[in-house]
Symmetry: none
Subunit: 210 residues, 4 copies
């Protein structure tokens, strides 16, 4: 994990250590959940002493914040990079879904920490993460709106997008690569159902929402 997206230059020792700790912490939060995980668990898994951990972050909450921020930022960076080359509205929605699944299947532990520990953070930390999440949601919603406009479709944006987010955020409770194939396969299946779904809905001019 590459924390500190601020610099692209060689990371300092501190940054490398921190990244290592965040990785271990992600695994522990994945396993036991944020509340159940104790600082002692983190100490054990990272090999640092309990007090040593506090050199790298001020509190358990800050640690969760750093993890969530990192993964939100990274998935969005990758999304933006990927969308640069795609213009077709439907393909852009597919790109979003594929990007999400590809990244989070590769980082499935982080994935659960993002979706399950959704509302743990309070105050400043909570607000920042909520903002990132909203931004990510808006990215997806925009792509769907673009497609709707381009094809003159008719469905409830919010419910459709939220339904899609549900599908892809719930993945961590069931996804098994041996049963379900790789990320590409799952992304194609989910994209197909979702896109055929919204493209086929046609209830006449009264339905829908901007």
């Amino acid at each position: 994990m590459n924390s500190g997206a601020t610099t692209r230059l060689a990371p300092t020792r501190f940054e490398r250590q921190l990244a290592r700790i965040l990785d271990h912490a992600t695994a522990v939060f994945y396993e036991k959940g944020y509340e159940r995980a104790t600082m002692r668990d983190l100490s054990r898994s990272s090999g640092l002493s309990l007090a040593g951990l506090y050199h790298y972050f001020e509190s358990k909450e800050k640690l969760l914040y750093l993890i969530q921020r990192h993964y939100f930022k990274t998935v969005m960076e990758r999304l933006n990079a990927r969308l640069k080359d795609v213009t077709d509205p439907e393909e852009r929605v597919r790109a979003f879904i594929h990007n999400h699944l590809e990244y989070f299947v590769a980082n499935f532990k982080a994935y659960k920490v993002l979706s399950h520990e959704d509302d743990v953070l309070r105050n400043q930390f909570g607000a920042e993460i909520a903002a990132l999440k909203r931004e990510y949601y808006r990215s997806c919603a925009s792509l769907v709106e673009d497609l709707k406009r381009a094809r003159q479709l008719n469905f409830n944006n919010r419910i459709a997008v939220m339904g899609l987010f549900g599908s892809i955020n719930w993945l961590h409770t069931w996804y098994n690569p041996r049963v379900d194939g790789n990320a590409d396969a799952v992304a194609r299946e989910i994209s197909d159902v979702f896109l055929k779904g919204i493209c086929s809905v046609a209830r006449g001019p009264e339905g829908g929402q901007t």
Copy 2:
């Protein structure tokens, strides 16, 4: 909440009290999450003393178990009752979605306690709840399979059903009756997208899975 489904006759004082406590506890778990919620919170919210609570259940875990069991059993009872009168395969899938949303919009606090505190329970309790959850999943999967067979459709059952569960289980993170309308409206929208989606997917004979 009507605990003790064994008898339909007048509930005893104990049963009524227990039901009242489970209701309060559900609200507290909804608000703070199971781990963060303390027995002292439950004491406060229920008006009973800390020790008094233990007259009604042996442990905090047992309490969560009682809640989860109750709601799983009830939603399945209602599903079975509703399916009695429906024969058309598509309508039966719609009935499932509608039943789920109707019940859990009416009991949205319990809803979060079911989906968020998914894997808290261990051992016997965990096994029992997992069995109920599997049974509920199987109900839905069967209905989808019936539809697939009836219409000779072509899609990945598991991914489709899991995607649907994601959509309806994620609801508790965003549903707002003032914005999204009542349960009927949401159920119709989600059903439309899902059903059009799976009915339109046609990738040729190589796709799909039993």
Copy 3:
């Protein structure tokens, strides 16, 4: 167990019930120790409700008091009855030992409750039991003194008697009827060692104590 030594007439229902409860309680105290034993244990073992127990005694302490008092009084009554027919000093000491072992092998659970929960009781209860214990000790000490005087023996009374009490009070930690024979056999062996011991000690006129 026959509580309430005050009347020799037909015991009332209350007395019979109380005696039954004391018996059960003795068994529980024997098994778990006084501190570890809970009122719920007593409720379970006696078949009465928790609150029902309090009709028979005011507190857990009083219950222990009643048990200890009963067994101390009974063993002393039996001792006095037995000593009536014995005049030889040595035989009187043997009678004490035999009486003690016979009674407490027959009531070995009570026996542990007497010796292990020695110093639990406080205040009035503690004082009364301590007085009974002192009386019992004095009985034994007198017999030993009589023997010493009659035979003009020479040993430290207090240490000898305390040593004897140790031997017979420690019994509950090791006595096993299948290995050690019945009470008579053990009493004879212990009496032999003790009596030969004190009768053979002769360190000249400076030793001993009144």
Copy 4:
């Protein structure tokens, strides 16, 4: 108290602190008994915070285990050292009694914690302490058997040794240095009575036991 018999080199700060805590705990257990003594009592007596205590041992049970193990091991080490220089069978039995009394009069609080909290420990802890106790008992029994063989005596080994253990384990309920003299005096008296006792018993060839 010198815990950690593994090294005879300078004890670490941790070891010294632990030893200090065990000392305080021994005093508290002596005073109130293991069950009645609370962790708060130990905290108060040792000057550490409640949580601080848990830096040194994992549980109240482990604490009792550490205490009991220490004293059993130490008294046996001392016994073995002392027996090295004694060959006469009678003197060896006297050495055992003297060693026991000397050590436990000097550590009379620990003494009660050993004998009164005999059967508190369960499972692994209980098994280990029981094994040490058995070893200590065997040491004594061997010495008595040696004497019996050397002198061709005739008495029941088990009852005699158990009686002796009763005498010396019961000491903590009555011993008062001002009344009873020092350990040497008491040891001599008890040894005299016991040894004269077993040496004088002669009931003919049918008596005794291997």
